[in-house]
C-alpha cells in the first residue's frame, strides 16, 4: 500500500459525520442519476421499439424526379450533369416495387422488406363512423419486417391469414369504435362503396398515434378498396442495425431515385424531446453530486488547516510534496470509489424497484409498468461525474497542503 494511502485511510475518519454526509450525497447523486436515466431512456427505447416494429427502420416511398439530367455533350462524349432550378417533383407511390424489393434484399444490412399500400378509408360500425389509415399488407413479408405478431393483444393472426376480408385494428381505434374481435364492420373507400370486413385481431404498439389511427387489411383487398390495382405506396425495410439507418437510407435514395426516410428522421421531433428530457434530468441530478463535492471540498480544506503540524512533520520525515497532496487526493478517491460503487448498487436497486411499479399510462405512450432501460453507459457516466466532481473537490485542498512550507509551521508552533 502506498504510504499516502495508508495515512489517507486514517485521516478520512476525522470529522466522521461530515464525511458520511458527503458520502451519502455522492451515493444518492449517483443512484438518482442512474435511476433518472434508466427511466427517461426506458420510455425512449420503448418509443423507438414501437416505431421500428410498426413502420420499420426505413420507409421507401414516393419516386422523385432526378435532380440531374444526364446528357451527353457533343464534342467529347463525356457526361454532363445539369441541375434543375425547379424544385423536385414527386410521383406518388413506388414504381416497379418488385425490382426495388429484390435490390433492397441484396443488402446484407437488410433483414426484411415488405410492401405496403396505405390510404384513408372510413370505418363504420353501428356505433359510429371514423376515418382511419388503412394499410394493405402482404402478411408473410410483413410479419418478417415488423413486430406485428408481438403487438397482437386480442384475436389471432391465423384467422386474419385465412380470411381475405380480414381486418386487424389498432387497440385504441377499436376502443373508440367499441368494436370487438369477431365483429363485422364496414370499410368505405374513395368510391363510396361499403365493403364488409371482419375484425380478426387487435394490435397495440404502445404508441398512441399508431394505435388510434391504423388498421391492417390484405394487400389485394386494399388495392381494390383504395382503387389502386397493383399500387404500392411504400416499402418498409427492417435493418440488422437500426442505428445505421440514416446512411443506408441516403444510399437507397441515390440508388433507387425514391424517397427513403429513416426512423431517426421520421421521429425527429419526439426523439429531440426525449433527449432534452434526458439531458435536463442529468443536469438536475448532477447538482446533487456537485453539492456533495462541495462538501468534500470543505471537509478537506478544514482538514488541511487542522493538520498543518502533521503535514510539516511528515515533510520533515522525508515525505515529498507529492506524497502530501496524495494523502488528500486519496481521500477523495476513496469517497468517490465507495460512493459510486454503493451508488451504482442503489441505483440498480431503485431502477428495478421502479420497473416493478404497475402504472396505467395512457397518452403519448401507453404501458402497464414503469419503463426502464438498463444501460452500462449510465453507470459509467454517473461514476465519471462523481470522480470528476470529487477530484476537483480534493485537488485544490491537496495542492494547498503540498505547498505549505514546513519551516513556517514548525516556527509558528513555538520552536
Amino acid at each position: 500500500m502506498p504510504p499516502p494511502l495508508f495515512i489517507a485511510i486514517r485521516f478520512i475518519g476525522y470529522r466522521k459525520k461530515a464525511i458520511l454526509l458527503s458520502l451519502t450525497g455522492v451515493i444518492l447523486g449517483v443512484a438518482f442519476y442512474i435511476c433518472a436515466q434508466a427511466q427517461t431512456q426506458g420510455f425512449e427505447q420503448f418509443f423507438i421499439k414501437g416505431t421500428l416494429g410498426s413502420s420499420g427502420a426505413i420507409i421507401i416511398g414516393n419516386r422523385f424526379q432526378s435532380l440531374h439530367t444526364a446528357i451527353l455533350d457533343r464534342q467529347g462524349g463525356t457526361m454532363v450533369n445539369v441541375s434543375h432550378a425547379k424544385p423536385r417533383k414527386f410521383y406518388e407511390g413506388i414504381t416497379d416495387p418488385e425490382r426495388i424489393m429484390r435490390a433492397v434484399n441484396e443488402f446484407s444490412s437488410v433483414t426484411a422488406c415488405a410492401p405496403v399500400l396505405e390510404g384513408s378509408a372510413a370505418l363504420a360500425t353501428d356505433f359510429r363512423q371514423e376515418v382511419f389509415r388503412v394499410q394493405g399488407i402482404d402478411l408473410g413479408l410483413h410479419l418478417k419486417a415488423s413486430a406485428l405478431r408481438e403487438h397482437i393483444v386480442a384475436g389471432r393472426i391465423e384467422d386474419f391469414q385465412e380470411k381475405p376480408s380480414g381486418l386487424i385494428l389498432g387497440y385504441g381505434l377499436a376502443d373508440k369504435m367499441r368494436a370487438q374481435v369477431g365483429q363485422d364492420v364496414g370499410l368505405i373507400g374513395p368510391d363510396g362503396e361499403y365493403r364488409t370486413f371482419r375484425i380478426c385481431a387487435l394490435f397495440q404498439t404502445g404508441n398512441l398515434t399508431i394505435d388510434e389511427k391504423f388498421g391492417y387489411i390484405h394487400l389485394k383487398a386494399a388495392q381494390s378498396l383504395l382503387q389502386r390495382p397493383y399500387g404500392i405506396s411504400h416499402l418498409m425495410v427492417k435493418l440488422r442495425d437500426p442505428a445505421r439507418a440514416p446512411a443506408v437510407a441516403a444510399h437507397f435514395e441515390r440508388l433507387f431515385q425514391h424517397r427513403a426516410r429513416c426512423w431517426q428522421d421520421r421521429e425527429r421531433g419526439s426523439l429531440e424531446i426525449f433527449s432534452l428530457i434526458r439531458i435536463s434530468a442529468a443536469i438536475t441530478v448532477s447538482t446533487v453530486i456537485l453539492l456533495a463535492g462541495f462538501g468534500i471540498f470543505n471537509i478537506l480544506t478544514l482538514m488541511v488547516m487542522d493538520k498543518v503540524r502533521e503535514i510539516a512533520v511528515l515533510r520533515s520525515m522525508g515525505y515529498r510534496r507529492s506524497d502530501i497532496s496524495a494523502i488528500f487526493l486519496w481521500q477523495g478517491v476513496l469517497v468517490a470509489l465507495i460512493g459510486s460503487a454503493l451508488g451504482c448498487v442503489l441505483g440498480a436497486a431503485l431502477t428495478y424497484g421502479i420497473s416493478q411499479i404497475p402504472v396505467d399510462i395512457k397518452g403519448f405512450l401507453s404501458a402497464k409498468r414503469f419503463l426502464v432501460h438498463w444501460s452500462v453507459m449510465d453507470y459509467c457516466a454517473a461514476t465519471v461525474i462523481a470522480f470528476v466532481a470529487i477530484f476537483l473537490a480534493s485537488y485544490f485542498p491537496s495542492r494547498r497542503a503540498a505547498r505549505l512550507a514546513p519551516v513556517d509551521i514548525l516556527r509558528g508552533s513555538g520552536q
Partner: protein, 243 residues
C-alpha cells in the same frame, strides 16, 4: 570557528557539514538577516549543543542543516555529498533516509498507535516489509522504554512518553544525523533528564551525530561540544564535560 571539533576528520566521514550559511527571512522592510555566515561540522559519536538567546537563529540553523529549509548562501554537505543541486524530491529522500528530527512538541499523529507512528518514516523509505517494520518499530520502542505500550494510541500516552515515541520515530530509518530542537523544553526535570540520557546513549553506542538546541545549561554542559550562538553567528565553541 569550531576548530577543535573538526580536527582530524576527513570530509566523507563528516555526516553533516555546513559552511558560510546565510539565510534571510521575511519580506521587504521586515526582512531579517537571520543566519550571517554559519559554519559547522558534526562528528559521528558526538553531541553538539547549540546555546544562545531567544531569536538568535538556532532553529533556523537546524532547519537549514536538516535540509528542511534552503539557505540563501553557503554550502551544505551530507556525508560528503553537496545538496545544493538536488531537487525538492531528492532532498526529501535524503531527509527520509539520513536525518532524524526531534522537535519541542512531539507532533505524533493521533490517528495512529505508537508503533504505527514509528513506522511512518519506514513506509516512505519502503525497504522493509510490514512485518519487519513492525518488529523494528517494536524494537525501537523497547529501546526508549515503551515496549509495553506499542499498541497504545499515541493520544493516550503522557507527554514524556510521547516525546520518547518521537525519538524512536526519528531513529526509524537508522539515520546518521539527529537534529533536536529543544527536545526537553516541554518536559519536567526527571523526564528531560531521561530523554537527554537516551539521546546521548544512542549517539555513543551507534556513532550517530546529534545537533541539539537547548536552553537547559545542565544539558548543554553534558554535551561533547557546546556552540554559542548570537545574532545569527556561532561566536564560540568549547568542549563540555560529558559524564
Amino acid at each position: 570557528m569550531s576548530m577543535d571539533a573538526t580536527a582530524g576528520v576527513s570530509a566523507a566521514n563528516v555526516p553533516l557539514q555546513c559552511s558560510d550559511i546565510h539565510r534571510y527571512l521575511g519580506e521587504a522592510e521586515s526582512r531579517v538577516h537571520v543566519l550571517r555566515g554559519v559554519s559547522l561540522q558534526l562528528q559521528p559519536g558526538c553531541v553538539h549543543a547549540i546555546v544562545g538567546p531567544s531569536g538568535c537563529g538556532k532553529s533556523s540553523l537546524l532547519y537549514v542543516m536538516g535540509l528542511l529549509d534552503r539557505p540563501d548562501g553557503g554550502r551544505i554537505a551530507l556525508s560528503g555529498e553537496a545538496v545544493e543541486g538536488l531537487t525538492d524530491d531528492q532532498v526529501s529522500c535524503r531527509r527520509n533516509e539520513h536525518i532524524g528530527f526531534v522537535f519541542q512538541f512531539h507532533f505524533l499523529m493521533h490517528e495512529f498507535t505508537a508503533q504505527e507512528n514509528v513506522m511512518i518514516p519506514m513506509r516512505r523509505l519502503g525497504r522493509l516489509g510490514v512485518r519487519e517494520m513492525q518488529e523494528r518499530a517494536a524494537m525501537l520502542l523497547e529501546m526508549v522504554g515503551l515496549g509495553d505500550k506499542t499498541r497504545r494510541n499515541s493520544q493516550h500516552l503522557s507527554g514524556g512518553e510521547q516525546q520518547r515515541v518521537a525519538i524512536a520515530r526519528s531513529l526509524a530509518n537508522d539515520p546518521q544525523v539527529l537534529l533536536a530542537d529543544e527536545p526537553t523544553g516541554n518536559l519536567d526535570t526527571a523526564n528531560s533528564e531521561r530523554v537527554f540520557q537516551l539521546l546521548t546513549n544512542l549517539v555513543r553506542q551507534q556513532r550517530k551525530a546529534l545537533l541539539l538546541v537547548t536552553h537547559n545549561l545542565l544539558v548543554a554542559e553534558a554535551s561533547d561540544w557546546i556552540h554559542e550562538m548570537r545574532d545569527g553567528l556561532l561566536t564560540g565553541c568549547r568542549a563540555g564535560r560529558p559524564h
